[in-house]
């Protein structure tokens, strides 16, 4: 289903507001790229004596040691990409961050409980259960703060993150003093161990990824509604609270599983960056979710492979850098919402509007000069007339004049005078008429602020019905500002 994004630029407003120019775009891109390259450059030192055979083996998963890591991180990329897409649209991307930190007290308590029951305290399912429980409690507190106070989502997330992590540290401080209990490594549970993954990790991650994919598939409509119009969903009778809990439950599952296998920073990045990158390529939610999963999986695969190929490169960090590169490229070059494409579109629109202003100004000068009201004659006029008509900056006006001349709408006369060409005159008449029709329509028929009269004026005949255009023309004629249409409107009736 197509969706309308409220944050899309208003075509008129974006012209009047300061924009990020092309130069800034290039500068940021270069700064970001050089930062990443600078950070990673030690990775590609002289020591990497790699053959193409090794690279092929690892990328094609022929190497047993890396197969598990590569497949697991890719599966996690899929899972996080899917649920992260909905988080991004709900403006709760940092939820993964908050949840990941809020697992610490649960991990410590699970450790103590298992120790009291006679185990070593380090059994993986037990620690995961503790982490999940504490994450869920943190999640419920976040939802409660959001729903019962006027604090915003980000404050609720930051509150849970810091208080839970602090409580976890306090508990850890006690536990570390228990004699005989080796609590060492407990804190590093949340920092992951991507390089030493075992088969259990792979199955756990795959199961979560499958669960996320199935939930997204079956509840796609519900999640979409929740993301775009929560109050409407509630008014329609959907159980929005439970949908929210379900969605965030999936996030908790992805976070907890990812946390112990690949670490805190990677799981946070996996939940945020692929969806944000996918957002630049499409306006459709279904495409975005799919793309986000693909980007997550591809960066997991590529990053884990690079980390396996070169010595002393932690997989998590490499994957984060790869994902960020994908994001940077998408942000700048994506044709749908990328910075380049947007700048180009804005520039084109601006040019179009400027040219219309020029032709209309020229036509109105001719109109004022001609004696007969019903017939405007094409005659030479000067550049100063134009400047007097509209407050153009002289240099700016010259630029527009040059463009219009190249377009064949303007001709230069002797003594620096200008003249509309045959086609230019027709175009000017048409634009002036349409703009006036649109203005009179807005003034007489619609309660829209007069400041909006410029919008899509040239589309007047496509937007309004033929008989309404007829009535507007009569109105214009009454006011003495009538220009006959240069081409006949086919009346459907």
């Amino acid at each position: 289903m197509p969706f309308v994004d409220p944050s899309r630029p208003d075509p008129v407003k974006s012209l009047t507001q300061p924009r990020w120019g092309l130069r800034t775009t290039l500068f940021t891109g270069a700064a970001g790229l050089s930062l990443l390259v600078f950070g990673c450059s030690p990775a590609f030192g002289a020591e990497s004596g790699l053959s193409w055979g090794d690279i092929g083996d690892i990328l094609l998963l022929k190497n047993y040691n890396t197969r598990l890591v590569v497949l697991s991180t890719s599966a996690l990329g899929i899972a996080a990409g899917i649920v992260g897409a909905f988080l991004l649209l709900r403006k709760r991307s940092l939820m993964g961050d908050a949840l990941a930190h809020s697992t610490l007290p649960g991990i410590v308590i699970a450790f103590v409980v298992m120790l009291a029951l006679g185990g070593t305290g380090k059994s993986l399912p037990g620690l995961i259960a503790g982490a999940a429980l504490s994450g869920i409690i943190g999640l419920l507190i976040m939802l409660a703060i959001r729903n019962t106070t006027r604090l915003s989502d980000d404050t609720a997330m930051g509150f849970v993150l810091s208080v839970f992590f602090g409580a976890g540290l306090a508990l850890l401080g006690v536990v570390q003093k228990i004699p005989k209990a080796s609590a060492a490594g407990l804190e590093s549970f949340i920092y992951g161990k991507a390089a030493s993954m075992v088969l259990v990790d792979f199955w756990l991650i795959s199961a979560i990824a499958a669960l996320a994919a199935i939930a997204a598939l079956f509840l796609f409509k519900e999640f979409t509604l929740l993301c775009f119009d929560e109050s409407f969903a509630a008014a329609e009778g959907w159980p929005t609270l439970w949908l929210d809990v379900l969605l965030l439950g999936l996030v908790t599952a992805v976070t907890v599983i990812g946390l112990q296998s690949v670490g805190l920073i990677l799981i946070i990045a996996f939940l945020i960056t692929p969806p944000a990158a996918a957002r630049f390529w499409t306006h459709r939610l279904s495409t975005m979710v799919f793309l986000s999963a693909v980007i997550g999986a591809a960066s997991g695969w590529l990053g884990a492979s690079i980390s396996a190929l070169l010595p002393r490169l932690p997989a998590g960090a490499v994957i984060v850098v790869v994902t960020s590169l994908v994001f940077l490229v998408s942000m700048i070059f994506a044709p749908t919402r990328g910075v380049f494409a947007r700048n180009l579109r804005q520039r084109r629109l601006k040019n179009k509007v400027e040219r219309q202003h020029l032709l209309r100004a020229a036509f109105e000068i001719l109109e004022a000069n001609s004696t007969k009201t019903e017939q405007v004659a094409n005659a030479p006029f000067s550049r100063d007339d134009l400047i007097a008509k509209r407050t153009w900056k002289p240099r700016h006006l010259d630029k527009i004049l040059k463009k219009e001349t190249a377009f064949g709408h303007l001709e230069s006369e002797n003594h620096g005078e200008l003249r509309l060409s045959e086609s230019g005159f027709g175009e000017a008449a048409r634009i002036t008429r349409n703009h006036r029709l649109w203005e009179i329509y807005l003034v007489t028929h619609a309660d829209i602020a007069p400041s909006h009269v410029d919008r899509d004026a040239d589309m007047v005949e496509h937007i309004l019905e033929a008989d309404l255009v007829q009535r507007l023309e009569d109105e214009l004629r009454n006011r003495g500002a009538w220009i006959p249409s240069p081409h006949l409107i086919k009346n459907p009736s």
């Binding site: 944050s7 800034t24 940021t28 990443l36 950070g39 990673c40 030690p42 990775a43 991004l88 403006k91 709760r92 991307s93 940092l94 993964g96 961050d97 703060i145 019962t148 106070t149 006027r150 604090l151 915003s152 980000d154 404050t155 930051g158 509150f159 993150l161 810091s162 208080v163 602090g166 409580a167 976890g168 540290l169 306090a170 508990l171 850890l172 401080g173 006690v174 003093k177 228990i178 920073i265 990677l266 946070i268 990045a269 945020i272 960056t273 969806p275 944000a276 630049f280 002393r312 490169l313 932690p314 998590g316 960090a317 490499v318 984060v320 850098v321 960020s324 942000m331 919402r337 910075v339």
Partner: protein
């Protein structure tokens, strides 16, 4: 427990850092940027790594400068990504800080052969040790941490006092602020610089968790208790001081109830602040859960619809 001057100094360090964080934190919470402290405390890693690789020492001045610059860069990059790419602010923050952290981690790991730099020891300061490192000022032995964070607190306080009107307007209405001639963009970057410097100065001395917690929890608590900015700043500072005192006290007493020695003050400070928030959440006179429940009940009785009569 046996309270000594040592404990007093720990509480003083905690209180000074709490207030230094809570003041700019109020504006962060109002601007819906609470997670900035968390983002900055992760994102400074490459700055620290670069400072270390370049100078070869763990001198705290060069690290502080590098970390503060990286912190400000985090805010700048976040702003760029969110303005340029039209990405949600939270997501932009997440992308920037995870990337910077990963780059910093790669630098450290690649250089690990010949350096001794543990990210943990940089990011998690030891608050209990701060009174040991003292400087002599006018015959007093004052912990270095109190001095360094005290300076930050003083600067924060002066800046907020000097630009109070501007910060207040831009926190609530950026367009009005621009119209009145106070560039909201400049104020944004100023606030981000304050937050970055405070974050780095405080976590170098007392650990990142206190910074993250004190930037958010006291202002959030204050926001539940008052609707005005000045009382909010005051209440947030009080909550910060209170959690420093109660946090250190309970860190030394509560484990004793279960037969253990003591636990980390920083963890308990965050926990106590969380409890203070919970109390405000339940009992706040204007919007506490319990108060509101009573008021709703009374309200329902009052608003009993009068029976319609046809006349």
């Amino acid at each position: 427990m046996n309270w000594t001057s040592f404990d007093s100094w720990i509480v003083a360090v905690g209180a000074v850092s709490a207030v230094a964080c809570a003041l700019p934190g109020c504006f962060l919470v109002l601007r819906k940027m609470s997670m900035m402290g968390d983002a900055i405390s992760h994102a400074v890693l490459p700055g620290i790594a670069v400072a270390f690789l370049m100078t070869g020492t763990r001198s705290s001045i060069s690290m502080f400068v590098a970390a503060a610059i990286t912190g400000i860069l985090t805010a700048v990059f976040t702003q760029w990504v969110s303005r340029f790419g039209r990405v949600d602010r939270g997501a932009a923050m997440g992308i920037v800080f995870t990337t910077l952290f990963a780059v910093g981690l790669l630098m450290i790991v690649r250089a690990a052969d010949h350096v001794d730099l543990d990210p943990g020891c940089v990011l998690y300061g030891a608050m209990e040790m701060t009174p040991l490192d003292t400087r002599n000022i006018f015959g007093w032995n004052i912990p270095r941490a109190v001095l360094s964070i005290g300076v930050v607190l003083l600067v924060n306080l002066l800046l907020i006092l000097a630009l109070f009107k501007e910060l207040r307007i831009s926190a609530f209405d950026t367009s009005l602020s621009d119209t009145l001639g106070f560039s909201s963009r400049f104020l944004h970057y100023l606030l981000m610089t304050i937050v970055a410097v405070t974050t780095v100065a405080a976590f170098e001395a007392v650990g990142s968790i206190i910074v993250i917690a004190m930037l958010i929890v006291p202002p959030a608590t204050a926001l539940l208790l008052t609707h005005r900015l000045v009382p909010m700043l005051i209440v947030a500072s009080l909550v910060g001081v209170l959690s420093a005192f109660l946090g250190h006290y309970s860190a030394n007493t509560i484990p004793g109830w279960f037969g253990y020695d003591s636990t980390s003050t920083s963890g308990m400070m965050a926990t106590v602040a969380g409890l203070l928030f919970t109390i405000a959440w339940l009992f706040s006179p204007s919007e506490g859960l319990i108060v509101r429940r009573f008021r709703n009940r009374e309200g329902n009785e009052l608003e009993e619809p009068a029976e319609l009569t046809s006349t």
